[in-house]
């Protein structure tokens, strides 16, 4: 009787599996990132997570706060944001007007809430477009290599040589101020940056053996990129989205502040900060609350991105492998 080998005469990797499943259960963007069912987020693991990755939890909390503002805010605002209350103009925050009123008597709280709509949705759209295109170009070019890679990357380098705000301003001044154009401008600013990140991720993945196995099968480049590489790049993509979102908010509100972004009467936090400048001494709440909104949104997105990035690096240091 010959000695047939039994199943797996080797070490089971139990510890790694447990760590992996807990990590995924914790991230708010788990749906996009994880392929397998996450166990329910228990109380104990929440506090453990808070201790281990405070960035992630705080960032997620801030973002959630803003999402709540966007979704439920309109129901909480007692006054439409365009409504003037001239008799109550420049009133300090009170029970009636939670954030006070501006020079036209408009409720600042309502304006901040609707500004969230404006600023955040615009920033999210621009980020999604910019990073999306960056992913597509970066992965295609990184996989392809050769002269195409060099050509495209030199163009990207050219675009990267402009500081983001300056480039956005340039684009806005040629296109003209409008909401759509802000989205386009931010998208164009983001494309080279995201392309660069995703290209380097692709370079790290494309020589791995499972990719070679796909090539041996004769899979097309498109198949390899979308079915083999992309699922492994989701981690860095989520991080990229989160960090870029924070910059998008900053960019769009900066453009609004400078007056070349979204135009009134559309609400925009940057615009509100700009308008509130003249009342800094007399009615500081006009600047304070929109600025608070901007900073919490930016910090929230940034911390969240850092937190996820650290989480992914913590589990092995090489993307998701």
């Amino acid at each position: 009787m010959s000695t047939l080998p039994s199943a797996g005469t080797d070490t089971p990797a139990l510890a790694t599996a447990t760590v992996a499943s807990e990590a995924f259960a914790a991230t708010a963007a788990s749906a996009a990132v994880s392929a397998f069912a996450a166990p329910p987020l228990g109380r104990r693991s929440f506090f453990a997570l808070l201790r281990k990755s405070p960035d992630l939890v705080i960032g997620a909390a801030l973002l959630l706060l803003h999402m709540t503002l966007i979704i439920f805010g309109p129901f909480a605002t007692p006054y439409p944001y365009t409504e003037f209350h001239m008799t109550d103009a420049l009133k300090a925050p009170s029970l009636q007007y939670w954030f006070g009123t501006d020079q036209f008597g408009r409720d600042v709280f309502s304006r901040v809430v609707y500004g969230a709509h404006g600023t955040l949705l615009l920033s999210t759209a621009a980020t999604a477009l910019g990073v999306g295109l960056g992913v597509a170009i970066g992965m295609a070019v990184g996989y392809r290599g050769g002269r195409v890679d060099e050509f495209v990357m030199r163009i990207m380098d050219g675009m990267l040589s402009f500081p983001s705000l300056l480039l956005a301003m340039l684009i806005m001044s040629s296109l003209g101020p409008s909401r759509m154009n802000v989205i386009i401008a931010i998208m164009i600013v983001f494309i080279p940056r995201s392309t660069r990140v995703l290209r380097s991720v692709t370079l790290g993945l494309k020589n791995l053996e499972f990719v070679e196995a796909a090539k041996v099968r004769g899979e097309s480049a498109f198949w390899v990129i979308t079915r083999e590489l992309l699922p492994n790049a989701l981690g860095p993509i989520v991080v990229e989205l989160a960090i870029r979102l924070s910059f998008a908010i900053l960019l769009s509100t900066s453009l609004g502040f400078l007056g070349i972004g979204v135009q009134p009467p559309e609400p925009d936090w940057g615009l509100m900060v700009s308008e509130g400048r003249q009342y800094l001494q007399t009615a500081p709440w006009l600047m304070f609350f929109p600025a608070l909104a901007i900073s919490t949104a930016v910090i929230g997105a940034n911390l969240f991105g850092d937190g996820i990035g650290a989480r992914l690096a913590y589990r092995g240091g090489r993307n998701d492998l």
């Binding site: 000695t3 797996g8 080797d10 196995a213 090539k215 041996v216 899979e219 699922p231």
Partner: protein, 717 residues
């Protein structure tokens, strides 16, 4: 504790008492080291053998004081000349480390600072412990370089690590470790990343240094051959415990623990192939170190286990003078093994067991070949014919197309070989010889610069994607690294489903069925279908890689070092599996490896490659016996044999490995050949001389001369 009572206790440099170390992880407390005791005397070499998960590296780190922050020493002491290392304050540690206790690591490239010249790094090791001038340190460094047989010490002094070869980097590390004449030297797998000829030189060096420096050495390795050569006493570790300990000759001659016996028995050697017998395996898995029962850790896998073994945790006892064992039935297991060996000669030949079994995995070409062989006697058309295949890589282009030299690396230079259906042809060579390039060319990952590949009569043009679908179906590959051979985001079922869908048009329930059959064929079961690669061990992942290759019913599978990254016991299981599957499916293998023993076991024919050219090719029996090409001779003599009494045949290759961008003229091996006959070797390309059964040696020395001067090695006695 008793294991520490040495013959000369006052002579001990290091004494470890009942050491237990745990790692705090989310999965629980992983007990990496449990109750380990041993001592090392002055000038003595203690070898620690174990596979992954045995705790040997944790042990080394503990002795050096490098345990990570989540490691906790739960009990025990480590005594260095009377001082307890575990209780030592930081300053004392800094004084000891590098001066009295030194360590040489596994990967020399990552142990050296890439931005400082190596001479300075060694000098720093000297000056940080002694207040000497830079000049004195430099002179000492040059002496050390000479002592470690470094060619041109002054030139090497000024080089950066990346400008040195692996062997040279390791010599630098050894020089650094010896700089202050330490009392204790810890070497953690120092030769694992090196080629076998380089490894042989480093082992020679260590043996020599043992005579001139009086350091005690703690040598850690998973390679029993290396341990046999280097150690005076050895300790075998399993699941964190020392299961056997004793003088090296004693332990190799007479194993008093079934794990040690199992390790030795599952090693392939140069004496037998799978047609002779299968490798004997150690069944089962390494236990979960976070959940250890109070019993013998090896019992679940032990063929000699009794009831008592599952209920009682055995102690390490000196059962025979100076020889300790942790097996309660050490006498019984010895007798049982002797009986088994006498009756069955190990395992039966794999082929005999499958001679009449049905073949669900049979490939098309093989069925044809068998049909043909029963009707005609004419030799069937070879499955794969490689003719004058070459591949060049451009290393650096000319500046602006005009200035400077263009460096071309000739990875493969005019290689020709043939492979028949249902045959295993091994391609053997050291790193940089071109064997991986050959594999990639055949499979279509790169395209040749010259030459042709003909697969079953069809010329293979272009990359894999450009070839016909049927050709791709019949030509598959198994990769080297089990950790990256599977997409970490796809389940096993998905990984297997793709080739099934692509090449056999299966989907849904049929695909599921077929995938299950494939899993069964590689000795796993359908529970694996939903798992992700990170839940599997290295051996399991490699099995899936093999299943994936067999999914398309291929005629030829190119195996690129499929067992190199695996533990010895896992390697044995995978080799048996590969042999088994070939017997059932009649698939041909092109087996790439650097390990001669593995090749001897699995292959029918073998080609030895050096610097992109074939040096020798023939059947395994003929290539492994004289006459040899001088390179083959050197390769074979360099292999560390797991037998402390084996004569070390000192055929060593001198000189640096030539670069493939600038290969030597004439015979490419002449710069290092110990049997070089004269100017002809430098000027003329050697002819291919043929012996019986198609055995070919490419050398200027005629075959009969080689036969007379080369003596076969005496390995296992």
């Amino acid at each position: 504790m008793s294991a520490v009572r040495q013959s000369n206790p006052s002579d001990s440099v290091l004494r470890v008492f009942d050491l237990s170390i745990e790692y705090r992880t989310r999965g629980g407390n992983v007990r990496a080291v449990r109750d380990v005791s041993f001592s090392i005397g002055r000038g003595e070499t203690f070898g620690v053998v174990g596979e992954s998960g045995s705790g040997k590296s944790t042990l080394a780190f503990a002795v050096m004081g490098y345990l990570s922050s989540n490691a906790q020493v739960s009990s025990g002491r480590i005594d260095y000349q009377g001082e307890d290392l575990l209780a030592m304050p930081r300053q004392r540690w800094d004084a000891l480390r590098g001066a009295r206790i030194a360590m040489v690591y596994q990967d020399p490239m990552s142990s050296l600072n890439p931005s400082i010249i190596v001479g300075e790094q060694v000098a720093e090791a000297i000056t940080s412990h002694e207040p000497v001038s830079a000049k004195v340190a430099r002179d000492r460094t040059l002496e050390l370089f000479a002592a470690v047989n470094m060619p041109e010490p002054a030139a090497i002094f000024r080089r950066y690590p990346h400008q040195l070869s692996g062997g040279q980097q390791q010599r630098v590390l050894i020089a650094m470790a010896l700089a202050n004449n330490p009392d204790l030297l810890i070497m953690d797998e120092p030769t694992t990343g090196l080629d076998v000829t380089t490894e042989a030189q480093i082992l020679d060096l260590i043996a020599e240094l043992k005579r001139s420096f009086s350091s005690a050495i703690l040598y850690i390795s998973h390679n029993l051959g290396v341990i046999a050569r280097i150690s005076d006493r050895i300790g075998v570790m399993y699941a964190g415990q020392m299961v056997e300990q004793g003088p090296v000759r004693e332990v190799f001659r007479r194993q008093l623990h079934p794990y040690t016996a199992g390790l030795l028995e599952c090693l392939p050697s140069l004496d037998f192939g799978r047609k002779d017998r299968a490798l004997k395996l150690i069944q089962g898995l390494i236990p979960d170190l976070a959940r250890l029962p109070a019993a013998c850790s090896f019992a679940p896998r032990c063929p000699h286990a009794r009831d008592r073994c599952h209920n009682e945790a055995p102690e390490l006892v000196e059962v025979v003078p100076r020889h300790w064992s942790r097996c309660m039935f050490w006498r019984e297991q010895e007798l049982e093994r002797a009986q088994r060996a006498a009756t069955t000669h190990g395992g039966q030949s794999v082929l005999a067991a499958h001679a009449t079994s049905a073949a669900p995995l049979e490939s098309g070409a093989a069925t044809e070949a068998r049909a043909r062989s029963t009707t005609t006697t004419a030799p069937a058309r070879p499955l794969l014919v490689v003719d004058n295949l070459s591949r060049d890589y451009i290393d650096s282009k000319k500046l602006l197309g005009i200035f400077g030299q263009e460096r071309i690396v000739h990875a493969l230079d005019g290689v020709s070989l043939e492979l028949a259906a249902d045959e295993t042809l091994a391609v053997v060579g050291e790193s940089g010889c071109g064997k991986t390039t050959l594999a990639r060319l055949i499979v279509g990952l790169v395209e040749p610069t010259d030459g042709t590949i003909v697969f079953d009569g069809n010329a293979l043009e272009g990359s894999a994607a450009e070839r016909e679908r049927d050709v791709r179906r019949r030509l598959q590959m198994v990769f080297q690294n089990p950790d990256s051979t599977l997409n970490p985001k796809r389940s096993i079922g998905q990984a297997l489903a793709r080739p099934l869908a692509l090449f056999r048009g299966l989907s849904g329930a049929q695909a599921l069925d077929e995938a299950t059959k494939l899993l069964r064929a590689v000795r796993l079961d359908e529970r694996y279908l939903d798992r992700l690669p990170n839940q599997l061990s290295g051996g399991e992942k490699q099995r899936i890689g093999i299943a994936r290759a067999f999914a398309t019913n291929p005629d030829l599978i190119v195996c690129d070092e499929p067992v190199s990254a695996l533990d010895v016991s896992v390697q044995a299981a995978i080799l048996n599996l590969l042999g088994d599957l070939q017997a059932r499916a009649h698939t041909a293998y092109l087996f790439i490896s650097h390990d001669m023993s593995v090749v001897r076991y699995l292959a029918d024919r073998v080609a030895v490659v050096y610097l992109g050219k074939i040096a020798e090719i023939g059947t395994v029996e003929r290539v492994f016996a004289p006459p040899w090409h001088p390179y083959t001779e050197a390769l074979l003599s360099a292999i560390p044999v797991p037998d402390p009494d084996a004569a070390v045949t000192p055929i060593r290759l001198e000189g640096p490995v030539p670069s493939a961008a600038n290969p030597p003229s004439g015979c490419v091996f002449h710069t290092r050949c110990p049997r070089k006959i004269g100017a002809i070797c430098e000027q003329q390309i050697p002819p291919a001389r043929s012996g019986p059964e198609g055995h070919t040696i490419v050398c200027h020395i005629p075959l009969d001369t080689l036969t007379t001067v080369q003596k076969p090695f005496t390995h296992r006695s």
